[in-house]
């Protein structure tokens, strides 16, 4: 089972939930935590994994053999991203704009274009106290997170429980990280900002056809907007975590909630059981 932990709004507690969920389930299950927030990966700070392997993430970008090129301009014409241009007797490539679709090399009538790897990030993997772990790190200055996220997701193939920590927002990196999961947990806070972005995240998850539930973090301040919204939209609130300075301080020191306050473990196990019930029920109804 693959569970994505997303939020819309940043800083609502995704990392806290993803790491504590993994640590609460590891005693009785095979658990893997994938940090898919490749722009700002933070799970390793709380999990402190031993890294046992790594692999560069490469985009395939065009390389033009000018001795074969006739400057016909076909490559520039087919590139949707303006990553290749033909000016007189010169071909210019802009590797940072390239999405690596491969159209230019395939369609070049002279077979003058080959592809070469360009590194945009790295995937590292390892383990921490019984939890298998992998994360991706986008190189600073690079724009495109999805290729790195795809590589992180590949590490999560296999059985057991896979938890994916997703970046904030609702655009391509979020969609890439959630896609293919069985359930999406949306972590939010009871404020107008939290509600606004939760509604956007719910729309995104529904577009992908994935069931979702909410974790309400920092409960006790703010207003009742999120709860009213969840009631109206029939989205279950599966866990409530209060605003608590002790929890905030543990996080600030890089200590996972269930390590600092082990009494939370049973709540996270219950959270998983609730998710499992929803997913199982859904699978049964699909089979019928």
């Amino acid at each position: 089972m693959i569970i994505a932990v997303a939020s819309g709004k940043g800083g609502t507690g995704k990392t806290l939930v993803a790491t504590s969920l993994a640590l609460s389930l590891k005693d009785n299950n095979k658990v893997m935590l994938l940090d898919c927030d490749v722009e700002e990966p933070n799970d390793h700070i709380l999990l402190k994994p031993v890294i046992t392997g790594s692999e560069p993430v490469n985009m395939q970008v065009p390389r033009v053999a000018e001795d074969k090129c006739t400057y016909c301009g076909k490559c520039a014409q087919v590139c949707a991203y303006h990553a290749i241009a033909v000016l007189g007797n010169h071909v210019l490539t802009f590797p940072q704009l390239c999405h690596g679709c491969g159209a230019c090399s395939y369609l070049c009538p002279e077979k003058a274009i080959t592809e070469e790897p360009r590194q945009t990030g790295v995937v590292e993997w390892g383990h921490s106290d019984g939890v298998r772990f992998a994360h991706g790190i986008l190189t600073v200055g690079e724009a495109m997170a999805p290729p790195v996220i795809r590589k992180v997701k590949e590490r999560g193939n296999g059985n057991g429980i896979v938890i994916r920590d997703v970046s904030p927002g609702t655009s391509c990196p979020v969609v890439e990280a959630i896609k293919g999961s069985d359930f999406c947990l949306l972590v939010t806070e009871p404020t107008p900002f939290g509600l606004n972005d939760l509604a956007l995240a719910v729309e995104t998850v529904r577009e992908l056809g994935i069931p979702c539930g909410v974790v309400l973090n920092r409960a006790g301040v703010g207003d009742a907007g999120v709860e009213e919204y969840c009631r109206k939209e029939k989205i279950p609130i599966l866990l409530t975590i209060p605003l608590d300075m002790e929890i905030a301080r543990l996080y600030s020191r890089g200590i996972a909630l269930v390590d600092g306050m082990p009494q939370w473990k049973s709540s996270f196990r219950q959270l998983f059981n609730n998710i499992k019930e929803i997913v199982d029920e859904r699978n049964r109804s699909i089979k019928r």
Binding site: A80, A103, V140, A143, A145, T191, P192
Partner: protein, 290 residues
């Protein structure tokens, strides 16, 4: 005219609350919400909408089932795994058009994609340019670029002194699009190990694009040891810490009421944000050309 972009790396450190307050403190300015896929600045500024423009960007492939011979070439060549059972998954399609070019029976067309909306609103603090990226859409970077361009145009037309932008979290495409060419990046961090880790990375992006930076530590009293570490790190990097804002529920209370915190309370949070704005102005005078 000076353009200040507020970034953080880590999400939820308080960018928007701070931008909302700077909106109330700064003189003649236009506000820009560059967090186009989770825009919330408008919730603090009670805007009245003046313009709503469609944002058409990129294309999506479409297979005509009557023409398709199910040869499978497109499925085999698509690197984004966006074609299954001779149908295009619009969410996965990156609009490259490879399939359109190679289909032997020309069954594939590329359709223009409505990927969001660009808004211009009036607020009592000045004009606000904001946007909404469509659900599960690409090209957030391009929409950010349009938000900035629109804001710049308004600033030039009205002779305004500042563009104040609320940036997105992260370090990827929309952040780069918000940052490149700005006068100053204001980096809002928090004294958590995650916040510090992410600050280093977003500062790396500022360096990469040669934009000067200024740091603000929000909720500094959650962990004062970490706050000290951020201060020494910043000073080693030659970057000033302009303000240290304490943790206080007044920030959330102001947010629930939909007003900038400096207009809701005159306590320490508001005093520090005023200090922050003074720091921004001084840095703009000292360090920033143009």
């Amino acid at each position: 005219m000076k353009e200040i972009v507020v970034l953080s790396g880590k999400g939820g450190t308080g960018k928007t609350s701070i931008v909302g307050s700077l909106a109330a403190l700064a003189g003649r300015k236009v506000l820009a919400d560059c967090d186009v896929d989770a825009a919330v600045l408008h919730l603090l500024l009670s805007p009245s909408l003046k313009q709503d423009n469609e944002f058409w960007s990129g294309q999506v492939a479409h297979i005509d089932p009557d023409e398709c011979t199910q040869c499978g070439l497109c499925q085999e060549l698509c690197r984004f795994h966006a074609i299954r059972n001779f149908e295009v998954d619009h969410v996965s399609c990156e609009g490259c058009g490879f399939c359109f070019h190679i289909c032997p029976v020309e069954a594939i067309t590329m359709k223009e994609n409505l990927s969001g909306h660009l808004f211009v609103s009036e607020t009592r603090y000045g004009p606000l340019v904001h946007a909404r990226l469509g659900i599960a859409q690409e090209n957030s970077g391009k929409l950010v670029a349009q938000v900035r361009q629109q804001a710049k145009q308004i600033a030039e037309e009205q002779g305004l002194d500042y563009i104040i932008s609320d940036g997105p979290p992260g370090i990827g495409c929309p952040v780069i699009s918000s940052l490149s060419g700005a006068s100053l990046a204001l980096l809002v961090t928090e004294p958590t190990l995650s916040g510090m880790h992410d600050l280093e990375r977003v500062l790396g992006v500022c360096r990469h694009f040669s934009v000067p930076a200024l740091v603000c530590i929000n909720k500094y009293d959650i962990n004062e040891d970490n706050t000290q570490k951020i201060e020494s790190y910043s000073s080693a990097q030659g970057i000033a810490v302009a303000a240290k804002i304490p943790f206080d529920n007044v920030v959330t209370e102001a947010l629930v009421r939909g007003v900038p915190v400096v207009e809701y309370s005159d306590g320490r949070v508001s005093q520090e944000i005023e200090k922050l704005w003074n720091g921004v102005c001084e840095t703009l005078k000292d360090k920033v050309k143009g």
